[in-house]
Symmetry: C2
Subunit: 518 residues, 2 copies
């Protein structure tokens, strides 16, 4: 069992006793079997001494209980690490950065506080998953769609704060967020946007309120704990077509991206479209080093046998005529740009029956599915970067990354390309880990650090990163002697002087623990 | 001539001398004729002693010059007030809140630093207006549309930071912002989002970067000075239909709003639609107290003669078939909901010729126009509030506001209803002012304060407010003893300990001047 830094066993026992008074005996976890639930099994450090181990986990059921937890943590200077449901797999899951942290597990705060069909939004607590919300919408018979990541057990608040992506009409999760309740490190409870007016009727309907708009400060952040959040939903469209475009040449990804860009920018393709190789599942090549279907790009280009082609997954929504007109036009554009382009699609109309849909259609309709993301099944870590939305940039990226993988005896293994933020291209490189062989994990870690460094130099900085690479990733945001990180840390020291909230999250350290920066 | 609070004439002369060294003699303004250019002529205080008068204005041409201005202001503890082009008419224009402030006028920083057709964005400095950008797009022959407020001389940065609204596909200006350069009170220069990576290729293409997303902190804010901003543009659509729906009964606004809501939420109406009475121009009833075309709602409802009906202004964009299908569907929906509904529309196709368009079509296509917003021509002030997007709420609002106007011998004068933030309804109440009669202005001020107070109680808080009402408006954001305002002021005291940046902006005061809160 770990202890929080600087605390004696006696002091920690006293703190635990106060935590138990705050949340009840059943909701303070200290035995090894329970602590093991908070381990990051997707970390390259997983079998080493360097892997942080929490000292305890505490699960408050309310804002009032959470405030007491914060008071105790301030009194004892205990670093906390807040999770919503802890399903941030590949990026650190439920684990922390500082050995001996106390995990604040918000899974019990799982109430859907409001679900509004007329204005298409929900107000949720951190323990509510996309699946929970989808089920409640179905139960009430509301004609609303949700959206979210393919692992639908993830917390809506957690995934939105991490700026994840869905596959439907509100795929860019951060843009669908409206209004927050935040508990600051000192226990002060704040509502943002229109919610700052205690009579507000538009907390989940208008984002900004009056004066500085602070919601973004609490995303990917350790400046406060979000306890309520508004999330926008989608009115069920009358018709929907789930579509795929296939191209057979490996190098055809270049014109595919360049054809997608203007269609996505002009909202002809209105959903959070993706592309991937036309072999394997959601994460290509995740079967293992050098082997898998991804198998590295053909750096010489062309249609060499064995190198995969690509498919783009698109969604079209609205009145039947609109859906058909947009889809026909998209086919025309691809057919004229890429000779190898072929098309497949499925048409659906309200009332929708999920049982008639394949996974790709479900995702584009925001219907939770548990069938994708196979990398979760065997362990791996990610480097997730943003680059310009052009074929040339992606091809440069493929070659650069494959070259780096080869230095470590692997070939590039890519994840899908996401076009949720419509002017940029987000993708992720997967690096497999071993649950038993530390040499594999050391090599993975070295590769990832190299990928992050080179990405930073190329201008492809990361949008999100696993715990173990947070300092590396933030390091690449270097403008004017890391002015943005210095700004974050100025805010951190002001808002959380004892440095109790998730120290080190995304490379932002409180004064007291700043020497822990990697 | 005013002096900054606490400064002697000798001290101020020394400061002015340092400002002149920083920006050049020609760009420090102190004579009355120049200072008069920075007066708010739309303030109810305009002819009273309470109207703040700047002590000087300083116009830096670069970030380097601005940094020196900030250093001098810190040395002498001089309150500054930053404007981009100062065209925030009705909300305070170029004026400040503290008597004797030095206006930092950024009009000389008017460079279009980047204009990217492929990814549809621009990077601009504060002095660039919507019209400047539109003209540069035309000069280059790029197939891009801009969007923005009807007074197109307004600064893009200024209007976006104030969270203004346009009329086209990117009408919600704050949502179209991507990446900033900010100069903090201490002169530190920070780039946000991907721009924090000095090699970034996606500064204007992906908003969030890694870690806390801080851009919103600098909107409607006095926490920093935005010196560069990315703004998204719209790829020119192949076809465009500018459309209007008319209803003849005054009470028909109720079903009109309720018919608009689902169409707007589902993006069938994709632009930043508006509605207004079918008489008068952009601001109804602005001709004068009790007289104008707005003339107050019919609080008994119905189709009484003389009470105006309404029109909604809509835009449809994309491929011809899509435009026509959506517009036909919208007509069907209105015809079945409202017997009095009639329709008018004009079809356009690329290449577009602005000379063939009327003002309403130009606005929906983001083409700058100077023909609307007649309230600017004779002076008036605003109360601008956000309410739920329902007919019942708006009708309640009309009756409530008209009742309050009548207490002051006037009838309600409304501005258009804006549906740019698609889950809420924003509108504004106009109150005329006199350039000569203080009694008119005192009555206007009392009415506005009452409107703001009642709005706060009703939950219709303001999204933006004139200088003179900023403390009143922020007062209504009262949750947990004004937790959000306390948070803003904690940040203010940390980031700007001398309180030099725009003290009092939106009710956020630095420690040193906090007793000035109304």
């Amino acid at each position: 069992m770990s202890l929080p830094p600087g605390l004696s066993q006696g002091q920690f026992d006293n703190a635990l006793s106060e935590f138990r008074t705050a949340v009840g005996n059943d909701w303070v976890f200290t035995i090894d079997e329970h602590i093991a639930m908070y381990k990051d099994y997707f970390s390259p450090l997983q079998n080493t001494e360097a892997q942080p181990i929490p000292s305890a986990a505490v699960a408050p059921d309310s804002v009032e209980e959470l405030k007491v937890v914060l008071r105790v943590a301030n009194d004892y200077q205990i670093p906390l690490w807040t999770i919503s449901t802890g399903k941030n797999y590949g990026y650190g899951g439920p684990d922390s950065r500082v050995n001996g942290s106390v995990i604040v597990d918000l899974k019990r705060m799982n109430r859907i506080l409001e679900l509004n069909e007329e204005h298409a939004y929900a107000l949720v607590e951190p323990g509510v998953s996309t699946y929970d919300l989808w089920r409640e919408i179905r139960r009430r018979g509301y004609r609303l769609w949700t959206d979210g990541p393919s692992p639908a057990y993830a917390s809506i608040i957690g995934n939105t704060l991490e700026r994840g992506a869905g596959y439907g009409l509100l795929g860019e999760r951060a843009a669908a967020q409206c209004g927050m309740e935040v508990v600051l490190a000192n226990g002060d409870v704040m509502r943002t946007g229109m919610g700052a007016n205690s009579n507000a009727e538009t907390w989940q309907q208008y984002k900004y309120g009056l004066g500085p708009y602070v919601d973004g400060m609490f995303s990917q952040s350790n400046l406060g704990i979000v306890t309520k959040m508004g999330i926008w939903l989608i009115p069920e469209p009358p018709a929907f077509r789930s579509a795929e475009v296939y191209v057979s040449g490996h190098e055809d990804i270049i014109p595919m991206i360049d054809t997608l860009r203007p269609l996505r920018l002009s909202n002809v393709i209105a959903n959070s479209a993706t592309a991937s190789t036309n072999q394997g599942g959601h994460i290509e090549g995740a079967q293992g080093p050098g082997g898998g279907a991804g198998g590295g790009p053909n750096v010489d280009g062309g249609h060499a046998p064995g190198l995969p082609g690509w498919r783009a997954r698109l969604g079209f929504y609205g009145y039947d005529r609109v859906v058909e007109a947009n889809w026909e036009q998209v086919q025309d554009e691809f057919a004229s740009a890429i000779p190898s382009a072929t098309f497949h699609s499925s048409r659906f109309a309200a009332p929708y029956n999920p049982d008639e849909m394949l996974t790709e259609s479900k995702l584009a309709a925001g219907i939770p599915s548990f069938q994708e993301a196979p990398i979760w099944n065997h362990g791996g870590t990610f480097v997730s970067m943003v680059m310009p939305f052009t074929g040339a940039d992606y091809w440069d990226f493929l070659q650069t990354y494959d070259g780096l993988y080869q230095e470590y005896g692997m070939r590039y293994m890519g994840g899908p390309l996401h076009f949720h933020a419509p002017r940029s291209l987000m993708t992720l490189a997967g690096v497999p880990l071993s649950s038993t062989d530390n040499a594999v994990n050391e090599r993975a870690m070295a590769l990832c650090e190299n990928l992050i460094r080179v990405s930073g130099e190329k201008g492809w900085s990361e949008y999100r990163t696993p715990l173990v690479f947070m300092d590396n990733a933030m390091e690449s945001f270097d403008f004017n002697d890391h002015a943005l990180r210095r700004f974050h840390e100025t805010l951190k020291d002001t808002l959380d002087p004892n440095g109790i909230l998730s120290p080190g999250k995304n490379g932002v350290w409180p004064q007291r623990l700043r020497e822990e920066r990697a």
